[in-house]
Symmetry: C2
Subunit: 145 residues, 2 copies
């Protein structure tokens, strides 16, 4: 089957299929006659797997690692179990970041509601933003590293 057929089967765009082909996760056979790539059922299964993995937040590199094992017939379950624990930790971290950001934004909106507009000066661009440098949850005195 050809790229757009596979895409339609899985309800994704042809560009997505082409992308995973380009980086080598799908290996269709290139037709000698017209140069079109011919995708097998196996390719479709792999693409479906990729979608499931991406849906769980796995990166393309993660998926490469998984395939590098399964393509040799080895089970990837063990690494996958490790990976998902890490993913969960990362997600938790990002989640906390979101919470902080959200509270910063909410607080800024609240505080700004009582402040007037103001023209910029030489060293002050927008006093609203500049005045929000030390909101609760902000990493005010933190070192960027």
């Amino acid at each position: 089957m050809r790229v757009n057929q596979l895409a339609k089967n899985l309800n994704i765009t042809g560009d997505t299929v082409r992308f995973y082909t380009r980086i080598g996760l799908l290996t269709p056979i290139k037709s000698e006659v017209n140069g079109y790539k011919d995708y097998s059922e196996t390719d479709q299964s792999r693409m479906q797997f990729i979608l499931s993995a991406r849906n769980l937040g796995f990166s393309v590199d993660d998926i490469k690692v998984i395939f590098s094992r399964t393509d040799h017939g080895e089970s990837a379950c063990q690494i996958v179990r490790q990976m998902i624990v890490l993913k969960l930790q990362e997600t938790e971290k990002q989640f906390q970041e979101m919470v902080k950001l959200r509270s910063k934004l909410t607080q800024a909106v609240t505080e700004w509601s009582t402040k007037p507009d103001q023209a910029p000066t030489g060293n002050m661009i927008c006093h609203l933003i500049e005045g929000s440098a030390n909101l609760s949850g902000a990493n005010g005195g933190e070192h960027h590293e």
Copy 2:
């Protein structure tokens, strides 16, 4: 002052300063003698503003818009107020996504704990991931558009 001095003052890397210079948000004067860029106090103020804005989740493009007004002496407060409301909405959306992802991951870990490892077959790469296609909160039957 030179790039690394400014960077040190604000506790960021020289690369960050160079980045904002490259895209035109900072406009140091290029020394005729050695080609080094000379940053003013104003540049440092602008850089500090950029950091505050980024800390609130504003994008570089947002910041460009803000500067395009303040560089003409106009107040940016009004746009900034609009922008932050949008930001808050976006953040809320992303927050919900994180919640969904987190619950998917948690549920996957729980479900997988009772399942054995398994070798890949022709159309099954890792039954753990493939079996998680329809977790609660997952966009199972959703159309990717």
